[in-house]
Amino acid sequence: MIARKVKNKIMIGLIGLLAIVSAAPLFAIIASIYVNGARIISPRFLVDFPPPPLGGSDGGIGPALVGTLILMALSILIGGGLGLFTGIFLSEYGHHILSHYTRLSLQIMVEFPTVIIGLFAYAVLVLPLRSFNAFAGAFALAIVIIPYVALQVREAYASIPYSLKEAAYSLGVSPFVVNLRILLSVARRGVATALLVGLARAAGETAPLLFTILGTTLSYFEGLDKPIGAVPLLIYNFALSPYERWHEVAWGAAAVLLTIILALFIVTRSLVKEVKL
């Protein structure tokens, strides 16, 4: 009996230890990014062009940051919109045979490694245009976003009590008005969460951008049919470069990116809490 008790204590302790080991990297990562990045961040850092490889102390991630913001906006418009209506379809016509195949389709989409999505955008939008372009990047990001938004919106709409749906329809308005004005408003927290999660992915994904936007550092915005920069891509390229100065910029950029992600995460969390009430 004592042996069992001792074993119990040991194993419980082990579980606790392993759990802490699992969670520890999160803190280590956040800490090291802010520690290394804080050294270099300043307001100018957010706006300036990147420094030359062996360059001085000026320089920043201006073009990349603008690029990321543009890509975020465009991809959430396309991907969020497509995801929203797909999600409403799944909720409104969930019993339809097509819903089953749509859900299957979305499952497959979610599981595509993002490299593949990037390559697809390359084949479809970069090759024919003979140029890397921002739109291809937004397109790839949108594809990444669609299944997340669709499935989450479906959840949000599906959890609206049937009685409220009846009340909405009994006002004698069309299904468009019921679903896109009344029920959208009822489910707005869930939908907002879906869009925020999509936004966070658009901000942080790199692979879809590798094959589509080239990652220019020379200008803020040349047009949707031209290359554009993005923060995660900059981090990737600079971190792998042999230049110490660029490594510093990469850490700073990572700190900026992390802050964006954390902010989105916190907002999403606070929304979800209220939904649960």
Binding site: Y93, H95, H96, P161, S163, L164, K165, E166, A167, A168, Y169, S170, L171, G172, V173, S174, V177, R181, I182, S185, V186, R188
Partner: protein
């Protein structure tokens, strides 16, 4: 158009289950018409056939005709939307839109339907509807309060106001007092008697005493079939059918 609602040979299936069997019913104007029967007899289904809310259920299949205001609402030319404006509905569990205020709950329908032309008209309509529903005095100072904060009885009156604001011809009520305390319930029953002056009220109830109290005409439904229809006083004092008698006396679930 002698009848407010004229149901002709209505058959409804939920999947393979035949829920309403050849139901025919004629509801006269400006009165309270009660549909009563034990649980599961199909009364809520019948009510929902009158404003085409039934088809929100993907399993429901409807055959037959329902004539309201001289129009068969199930004919191909009629958009379900329009049927729902003719017959408004109040539900068993009060269901105001919880994320909207008291004012907005009543105003939403008219706004979306484009019934009013100015904010002033809308304000007047909202006040009129709330007064008619016996709720105005209790909420007039707090119209911006979220509807979810009202009591059950108040929420139900709010739902009635929401329905009235659309100026329907018929008011359908699906066991409107089943979830309310007796005081709140009696307020609603009083309201029903007043509403029949201007509207035709069709109420579904599982409580025969309620049917006896409020209705002028009553139909007894059992297992999807209309067993007996007639003036309330007649049906209750001299029921023609054995089942009706059993139900009325309280020997049925």
């Amino acid at each position: 158009m002698r009848w407010a609602v004229d149901v002709r040979n209505l058959n409804v299936w939920y999947g393979l289950k035949h829920v309403l069997k050849n139901v025919s019913l004629r509801i006269p104007r400006n009165m309270v018409f009660a549909i009563m029967g034990p649980s599961g007899c199909g009364k809520s289904t019948l009510l929902r056939a009158m404003n085409r809310l039934l088809e929100l259920n993907p399993l429901a299949k409807v055959e037959g005709e329902v004539w309201i205001n001289g129009v068969n609402i199930y004919s191909d030319e009629v958009d379900p939307m329009d049927a729902r404006r003719l017959a408004g509905m109040v539900f068993q569990v009060p269901n105001p839109f919880p994320h909207l205020s008291i004012y907005e709950n009543v105003a939403l329908g008219p706004k979306l339907n484009g019934i009013v032309r100015s904010k002033k008209e809308l304000d007047e309509l909202v006040e009129w509807a709330l007064r008619k529903a016996y709720l105005w005095d209790e909420v007039k100072d707090e119209l911006k309060k979220p509807a979810a904060r009202l009591s059950g009885g108040q929420q139900q009156r709010l739902c009635i106001a929401r329905t009235l604001a659309l100026k329907p011809k018929i008011i359908l009520m699906d066991e409107p007092t089943a979830n309310l305390d007796p005081v709140a319930a009696s307020k609603i029953e009083e309201l029903m008697l007043e509403l029949k002056e201007d509207y035709t009220v069709v109420i579904v109830t599982h409580n025969p005493q309620q049917a006896a109290r409020v209705s002028d005409y009553v139909a007894f439904l059992y297992m999807g079939e209309v067993i007996e229809v007639g003036e309330t006083s007649n049906v209750f004092t001299t029921p023609k059918h054995e089942l009706t008698e059993k139900y009325v006396v309280g020997k049925m679930g």
